[in-house]
Symmetry: C2
Subunit: 624 residues, 2 copies
């Protein structure tokens, strides 16, 4: 922890030079956005950041998150100065196959999360800081470098509010107020008083400085680590492109390599090769672990009624008693999602995120950075509020589960604003995601128990209404499987449902059976990955598949099933029932009927399909 | 404008009683959340709101937006008091077929937008207020009733920041701080100083009052209309369930009818039938109209290179010169989306929304409330940030266009954080949406020109890279159509692409032609609605379709095409190429190759499909 202003200044210049060099070599990138924050980072990494680059898995490491991910040249230049990457690797910036991508991703072992969508790094940092305080119970610190443009994102203010409420004095935001955005001046230019005022009104300690005065930076960071009971923001007035006159504080230079890099490098004093000894963590503590016992999942009696959302809460509480790394978060609707059952059982591991779904998702990402397994819940419709965070979480290779209750028109009277009808489509279209839609409480419990071992983003869609228990406790439901719940050896049509529509399909099958039409019924509880083999077998056997979903027709169960049969020989005829008109208020039964996805409409559609079968002819197995 | 405290108090009680009555009749709803704001609204609607219930289309009407949409019983009780709905209709609350849904929607002529997803009404109100100031240039006012729970949504703070920046003194936020959320106390309980402090730090005039003291309410609203140069927030300390002791300020009473409605009504002094004369608008002005001339769309020479994003900017500027109601907004990336061309041509009709995509979407919704036609643009990936706003905009029956540039892996070096790969899936799954993905600059211009007459939410996906101009200026491209760009009378396979992949498909067709394999190529520029007839004709003619998209495999072009052939006789064999692995940084060409969607991979897949054709046999037209 040396006080070495000359080193800081020299290192700042080196970071600028290297940012210019690598972006010029790449022919793209954001050198000017890197140059504004170079002095801030020079002081931070030589004196305040505690990080063992040889052991990124050290639980006592601090966390440095570039919320302004486009300043990646600066981050990578720091890695070079720290000896973590070579100058040669630095020059691979933005090339195919390089770990040094245009925006940081956890392909680099020292990067916690992907950034590049502005306004996400700080909210995720709140999650990491919460893990430090409440779960790991270790004194590591979280440092988030943010831009001033991203201060316009509401998600930042969710983060500022939550961090103050949680008294996260282990979190420091370093705000690089370089005045210029991509197209021109930000809303507040160099008015750092404005930012500091808003931060103070949220309960933060805000320190206003000249972001190029290394002594001021040093004092501010020193004050940040000395401040207890509240987080600190260093609000730094900086110059975009600082140090190179032709670009400094000039509009029109965002996201472009410097026009004359050689001259610029000369102006900055030439190439340096300072090696920085980043301070190692002082702590040697081990993360706190919660005591656990055996897994005793809840059980539900076959034939009784229970909602899958309630089974989620029961199962999660049970899972928490068996798996210490399981934690839960909710967006102030825990008495609807039933996360409250976990909250009561495991208050130390429950995080109330209030009506702030972006921070809800971001905190979950932050908690999993430290190895905790988060289950985050709200109404399924409101996950749409955090869709960008979920998209980015996939790029962060995050492992976590999002639970959405109150899916579909079957919620009834509350009306369309509360109905998720696009959630399956949007969550299927997240890279590497798993989409589950359980139909039964015992099944819900079995699925939930598998999730802490699952890679990637998992979305679980639960149902508001109580539905019949159709499976035995202990029945197994592998992710990627499906379950045939009605079958004869001469089925004429397959009905595919999940969640609420499975029960309607089962009722329809009963009606059809009474008419002599034999319908197979498949519970497609795993929408992604989907049981290709099971569906193909049903397609071969019956020649006709009818999908039924409480969701818009686009991107949901119907299209997932259609994709199974893309590019295959002799696909079955596939028809889909889905919600096509905008619903209003009505009872759940009325809603299902109005949407054309209740038992009666399913039976009608199945009769028509069975008629097609007879009319069309063609030797499908199903006719035998 | 009478000062009549007794009337206000009595009306407040009536609004409470009616909120209890209608929610009790419905068996669900939010009476306690209505009761807290009843006095605030009683004073507002008798003295300050200027609204002609007989002429909701009167351009001089004020706008009352219930950002806390769950207080719908209060809103509908106001409508009853104003004589707009009968007591009989009030009692249909939440029943099937009633206009009085669980949360307000514009099925009611006095409701501008659907609310019920918290944190949206105020940001939309900012849009309406912007229209009043900058477009209509009329003195109407916007009143937004917000809850305290929704103050945790970041979108609220985007709105507060923007309203102050735009000096919207025609906007008043009435913040109903009733302390209790759905599950317990909010983050700040009754700390109205906290809220007022944060609002003042944003530049708002904040007035703290007792929300049940009608004289204080009157003074605050009077001060709000007298304040110029900045918006005013009335921060009102209120009691949830006010007036009924058994529920007042009690947790656990959110979203539930009162347990003993008869007793509660008696405690409130019984049923009243006060009729309120809501003041009529004083102004009689007509909305400002912008001068326009003839439409002169830009033209591009066949064979030259241009990006569709650039054509978007050119076409939008031209459209603005011909259609006065066209306005544009952008999220601080207008030099990437090329909205800057419109901004330079029509600065009066351009709105810079900075890096705040939720406010960007919300402002567009607000502008279209007043009949303006908004084109809102940002990177396609960042529309995911506003997905809940787009979902709700569809419920609001909003007419507007969202433009997303930089779609897909073909953006190149910036990496996955900037690549939209889920936008087609998520935007297709918006009720009533249109999804366009132009492949050519002349086509882009033709499509853009049609949009101000289009109902619903339109999403236009544009491409970063320059692509060849393949169409003549003036060629027509109806929405819902497609275009065959390569065809012989004996095609063996159909290649379906759009945007960047169309050009790869055309190159592949050339390669295949040299090998004697005849490929039809279809430009699927209209992904939703989709050209069912054209695709079916191609399917019949060639028996094999290969879709190629710069998007994840879920919910995109491939699944849209599969859906066309669902439940049809003799569907073609359909194979799809899409992005399946998480990309990194690389050149556009490398990205397309790595994702398996470039010309070479298309040709390979087409060869295999053509082989299947020969191998499988079966008399498809394509073999002749």
């Amino acid at each position: 922890m040396n006080h070495d202003p000359d080193l800081w200044r020299e290192l700042g210049q080196q970071l600028r030079v290297d940012s210019i060099r690598c972006s010029s070599a790449a022919g793209s990138g954001h050198p000017t956005s890197s140059m504004s924050a170079a002095d801030l980072m020079a002081v931070l990494v030589t004196k305040y950041l505690h990080y063992d680059f040889d052991r990124p898995e050290n639980p006592n490491n601090d966390h440095l998150i570039f919320s302004k991910g486009h300043a990646s040249p600066l981050l990578y230049s720091i890695y070079k100065a720290a000896g973590a990457v070579t100058d040669e690797e630095l020059m691979t910036f933005r090339r195919e196959g390089s770990r040094l991508q245009g925006h940081p991703t956890p392909l680099l072992p020292w990067v916690d999360v992907a950034t590049g969508s502005l306004g996400q790094g700080l909210p995720i940092g709140v999650g990491v800081a919460l893990a430090g305080k409440r779960l790991d119970r270790l004194p590591y610190r979280v440092w988030a470098l943010t831009g001033d443009s991203e201060m316009a994102e509401g998600s930042m203010w969710e983060a500022f509010e939550h961090a103050a409420k949680a008294e996260l004095d282990n979190l420091t935001a370093i705000i690089d107020v370089n005045r210029l955005g991509q197209t021109g001046e930000t809303m507040h230019g160099w008015d750092i008083d404005y930012y500091a005022g808003r931060l103070r009104s949220c309960g933060w300690n805000a320190i206003e400085i000249d972001g190029h005065d290394v002594e001021e930076i040093d004092r501010a960071l020193s004050q940040a680590i000395a401040t207890t009971g509240r987080p600190t923001a260093v609000v730094a007035r900086t110059v975009k492109g600082k140090g190179v006159e032709s670009v400094a504080n000039k509009n029109g230079m965002h996201g472009k390599p410097l026009p004359n890099p050689e001259e610029a490098i000369a102006e900055l004093g030439g190439i340096r090769n300072i090696h920085v000894e980043v301070p190692k963590p002082e702590g040697t503590g081990e993360p706190h672990r919660f005591e656990v016992g055996e897994l005793r999942l809840p059980t539900y009696e076959r034939g009784s009624l229970e909602a899958t959302r309630k089974a989620y809460g029961d199962a999660l509480a049970a899972l928490g008693s068996a798996r210490g790394q399981v934690v839960a978060l909710d967006g102030e609707v825990s008495n609807s999602t039933y996360a409250e059952i976990f909250a009561k059982a495991h208050p130390d591991r429950y995080f109330e995120m209030y009506i702030a779904e972006q921070q809800l998702a971001a905190a979950a990402v932050g908690l999993q950075v430290r190895g905790w397994y988060p289950f985050a819940s709200t109404f399924a419709a409101f996950w749409s509020r955090a869709y960008d965070f979920v998209r980015m979480a996939a790029i962060s290779r995050a492992d976590m589960t999002l639970v959405g209750s109150h899916a579909g028109v079957s919620i009834g009277e509350d009306g369309p604003s509360q109905m998720a009808l696009e959630d399956i489509a949007s969550l299927r279209a997240v890279h590497g995601s798993t989409v589950l839609y359980p139909s039964d409480p015992n099944q819900t419990a079995q699925l939930i128990a598998q999730l802490p071992d699952r890679k990637g983003i998992v979305f679980v869609r639960t149902t508001r209404e109580k539905t019949p228990v159709i499976y035995e406790p202990g029945d197994e439901f592998p992710i990627g499987g499906s379950r045939v719940v009605r079958q004869t050896d001469s089925d004429q049509v397959t009905l595919v449902g999940a969640g609420i529509t499975l029960h309607e399909a089962m009722k329809a099958a009963d009606t059809l059976a009474a008419e002599g039409i034999r319908a197979r019924v498949i519970d497609l509880y795993s929408v992604k990955p989907i049981d290709e083999e099971g569906l193909r077998a049903a397609g071969r056997a019956t020649g006709h598949i009818l999908t039924v979903e409480d969701h818009w027709p686009e991107g949901g169960i119907g299209e997932a099933v259609l994709s199974v049969f893309a590019d295959t020989d002799d696909p079955p005829r596939i028809a889909k029932l889905a919600v096509r008109e905008l619903p209003g208020s009505a009872t759940p039964e009325q809603q299902l009927a109005a949407a054309g996805i209740d038992a009666e409409h399913i039976a009608d559609a199945a009769r028509r399909l069975a008629g097609e079968l007879i009319g069309v002819g063609g030797g499908q197995e199903g006719r035998k």
